[in-house]
Point group: C2
Chain length 280, copies 2
């Protein structure tokens, strides 16, 4: 049975995405993003799954920064799940009795309106993950709740007191699956790349984008990450429609290479069909 | 005395930036980013200071998302401080005795190498801010440390056991000061704008960038934020050199307006001189 390393702990949204992606893989629980990458790189796992982008929060910067440094692994595919935060409790109580709410700071901020309308007096407490939040809630000596995945209810043997508590219903996370294997063309692919510039000059990004525009290559994402050397130096990340082995894409890459310094292809992989999102 | 609202609590990096920015203002401690904006909007403060970008982590997305929605306030100026994380303790001990390390998840991740080399067995515990981390460390019943600002040592009456513990020395945060007033031209200004597109079509961002490039207007930052409606819809944010009242900039804005739907100028303000960074 092939092995899939995922960013844990059990009950995390990445765990949910891993199960949705492929039920026939043995799951390996990892406690950090670098550990997921390490498992695949060393062959202890065949594939690794990591969150890369949330529709509300934006990019998962720690995944992107590791991808930029990664010399070997390729994106094999992408998958998307709907993020449906629930409020979990140990034993039956009314919402107004809840004194502490545990969760990851991002989940707390995504449920800000729900919390201020329904639990205005509750103290918000940060946890390192939504699953950790459930564990901490269980240990708490005062009446507490945790914001997490609905699957955590059965995993941690706790109860759901409220569902769909995100302020914004359009809450989706996109995940990438990394492996050692390069994908062949399927006809409906996207390619993720990154690059930076040898020096900062007016219009240099425009000159790169021109190479895509004149070939009508659609860019589905463009974002920048700090290069970590100086404030104001950026690495650009682009997702584009097409496969790196398509003649038109290959020709375009050859034309941009003289303009840029670092250039990296994270992989070409089939575009996820949003109608396949799990309705759970 | 004019009033400056800042993102607290006391001892936060924004508190440090507020003091560096202008010592002659009365500081108003706010417990959230929306509260800082509210104080200025309602006139309870004349100005508000918020973090907007870190050289390692990238954009402070909650500040950017509120700026996109903000109908009235303008960026008055920007300021930058060096982020120098310290390890703080209650009473003298050896590093190897420390069992828990409290901090904001971002500070914990910025000191990952220091922690794994010097405190490999310590448990990392998330806090909502670096100042909260110091308070939680003080209450802890086991030997603990917190990662925070060096100023927290005197504010919370604790000791510094290690300084400069960030893995990357190029750790800077840029802050913006918001007010109700529009700035006049100084000759060394930058302008921050955002916009989105009515529909997704190949090359549309390129067409906008062309208007800047052909005028040799230097873009110092370009980034995208999710529009929060659908995964893959973005709002673009650009910082450019020049003032919105400069003829060339004004002409350029008029040319891009027909291509975009939403368009917003966050403000024109003097460019921060990096040689003015506090050497503390």
């Amino acid at each position: 049975m092939n092995k899939l390393a995922f960013l844990g702990p059990i009950g995390s949204y990445t765990n949910e995405a891993a199960i949705n992606y492929n039920k026939n893989l043995e799951l390996i629980n990892c406690n950090s993003i670098p550990q997921v990458i390490e498992k695949v790189r060393t062959g202890l796992a065949d594939e690794g799954i990591l969150p890369i982008e949330n529709s509300i929060e934006g990019p998962v910067t720690s995944t992107i920064d590791l991808l930029i440094q990664e010399p070997k692994l390729k994106i094999k595919t992408e998958t998307v799940i709907a993020i449906k935060h629930c409020l979990l409790i140990k034993e039956p109580t009314e919402l107004e009795n809840i004194q502490y709410v545990y969760s990851h700071p991002q989940a707390l901020s995504q449920c800000r309106n729900f919390l201020s309308s329904n639990l205005p007096k509750a103290k918000l407490i940060a946890s390192l993950s939504t699953s950790n939040a459930v564990e901490e809630m269980k240990k708490s000596k005062v009446t507490s709740a945790a914001i997490a995945n609905h699957k955590c209810a059965s995993i941690y043997n706790v109860q759901i007191i409220a569902t769909k508590i995100s302020d914004n219903e359009n809450n989706y996370t996109r995940f990438i699956v990394l492996s050692n294997i390069d994908n062949k063309q399927t006809g409906k692919d996207k390619t993720s790349i990154c690059f930076d510039f040898p020096h900062d000059s007016p219009g240099i990004l425009y000159m790169v984008l021109e190479k895509f525009a004149k070939r009508h290559i659609n860019l589905t994402k463009i974002e920048s990450r700090p290069s970590k050397t100086n404030l104001g130096n950026y690495i650009f990340l682009i997702d584009l429609e097409g496969h790196k082995d398509d003649e038109i894409i290959n020709e375009c890459f050859n034309e941009i290479k003289p303009l840029i310094s670092m250039f990296k292809i994270f992989g070409s992989y089939p575009i996820f069909n949003m109608s396949n999102i799990s309705k759970n």
